[in-house]
């Protein structure tokens, strides 16, 4: 399988992962992706973060299309 997804990390999550943008193998859903990331980066378990799929914040487990854009979003602190 050559299908990939684009991941963008922000704030403290980017700091832990050590990379702001990266491409990885396709994973079928946001819950599976989160599990995978937590295995890869155990430090992430100490941070609250939400996910956006194609710029939409998701609140429940969501299917990830091939070539989707996923964003890892720690708590907002603008303003």
């Amino acid at each position: 399988m050559n299908a990939t997804i684009q991941i963008m990390a922000f704030g403290k999550v980017a700091e832990i992962i050590g990379s702001v943008n990266f491409t990885m193998q396709h994973i079928a859903s946001t819950n599976l992706l989160k599990e995978y990331l937590l295995q890869l980066f155990p430090e992430l378990s100490k941070v609250k973060f939400a996910m956006a799929v194609n710029k939409k914040l998701i609140t429940t487990d969501t299917a990830i299309d091939v070539s989707a854009n996923i964003a890892l979003l720690p708590p907002f602190s603008g303003g």
Binding site: M8, F10, G11, K12, E15, A52, K55, A71, L73, P74, P75, F76, S77, G78, G79
Partner: protein
């Protein structure tokens, strides 16, 4: 639904008082306006564990933030009889004492401008994917979290 024009709100660096003045002055030709409400966010030199915040570095997920801001803008205009609304948020390093957020609403009568201004500030803080990294005087940092 028709795709609405996405306006940029982000500016690199602090928001200057002269920029705010220019924006206010532009409204003197709109003679149906009776009230302007302005909110300015200023970076505070908070002390956290004995270290003082000297600056906040702001980053954003720009595409998502502007889409969300467009949605907020439409909802605010649908809810309040505003003449106009201008919003600017800083990115990059903003020193303590500098201005990082400028929300400016105008209306015929004062309630619409003041209520809309408050609501927009609230929604910007809660809903826009923007992150502030607080830089301390000893160059350590922590990630800010908005408190209510």
């Amino acid at each position: 639904m028709e795709k609405k024009k996405v306006k940029n709100i982000f500016v690199e660096g602090p928001i200057a008082a002269s920029f705010i003045a220019d924006d206010i002055a532009k409204h003197s030709t709109k003679k149906n306006i009776g009230a302007h409400s302005i909110f300015l966010g200023q970076v505070r030199n908070d002390s956290i564990n004995g270290q003082e915040v000297k600056a906040i570095e702001y980053t954003t997920y720009v595409d998502m933030a502007l889409e969300k801001m467009t949605e907020i803008r439409e909802e605010i205009f649908a809810k309040y009889p505003l003449t106009c609304m201008h919003i600017y948020h800083s990115l990059g390093s903003i020193k303590a004492g500098e201005i990082c957020l400028f929300v400016f609403t105008s209306s015929e009568r004062r309630r619409a401008a003041t209520d809309a201004c408050n609501e927009v500030v609230e929604r910007i803080k809660n809903e826009l994917p923007v992150w502030g990294k607080e830089i301390f005087t000893d160059n350590t940092h922590q990630w800010k979290e908005n408190t209510i």
